[in-house]
Amino acid sequence: MSEFVRGLRLWFAPERIREEGDTPDYRFSLANERTFLAWIRTALALIGGGFAVDQFLPGLAWGIRAGLALGLLAAGVLCALRAVNHWVRCERAMRRGEDLPSSRFPALLSLVVALVALAMVVVVLFGWEGR
């Protein structure tokens, strides 16, 4: 937990990350940046999905539509925040010459996406009609 808090403080004290260890080869930093961007794109896709569910499925009952949209949007927000956190941790690990951090997040995200997909299957099978 304290590791998490220290990571969180690094978010807001950008200069501190430069004080640790040595600057890695710029190619590794760029690779880390691209991973960060891939996660941001994933977050944007989830958020876009949330907007799309809300805008393009007006026939769905309000509760189901809001639930699906909220699930996708929450996953998107988590994804974006986690992208920064993971990027900071990787950057620090590279500077210190440590192993890159491992993460449970991809498994968690795939579970959420699977749940949303399952909910969609149920919605399709048992009718869309809302009032």
Binding site: L10, Y26, R27, L30, I40, L44, Q55, V84
Partner: protein, 103 residues
């Protein structure tokens, strides 16, 4: 860095394209946000919502532009935490806006 030590992996180029892809994704989401806001009619809240989502988009665009131009250097600087945080914050802002208009 001498020209002989050129990077065979085209890392700056790939990173630049990654920023462009991400900007494109952000633009799509911002357009969906504007569409959502306009759908509610031109009320005060609707105008505010359009302005906020455009602000988030512009914030993202600013960071992306800085990075894309920065990739031209022989040894591009690493992404600064402030830029990373801004990009993520703009993404979160769009999601918060979506939640706010859901109800």
């Amino acid at each position: 860095m001498s020209a002989a030590e050129r990077d065979p992996g085209l890392q700056p180029e790939r990173t630049r394209l990654a920023w462009r892809r991400t900007t494109l994704a952000c633009t799509v989401v911002a357009l969906l946000a504007v569409r959502q806001a306009l759908h509610g009619g031109s009320t005060g809240a609707g105008v505010l919502a359009v302005a906020l989502s455009l602000l988030a988009w512009l914030g993202f665009l600013g960071v992306a532009h800085r990075r894309v131009t920065g990739m031209g250097a022989a040894r591009p600087d690493p992404l600064s935490p402030r830029h990373a945080l801004t990009a993520a914050a703009c993404t979160v802002l769009l999601a918060v806006f979506a939640v706010a208009t859901l109800f």
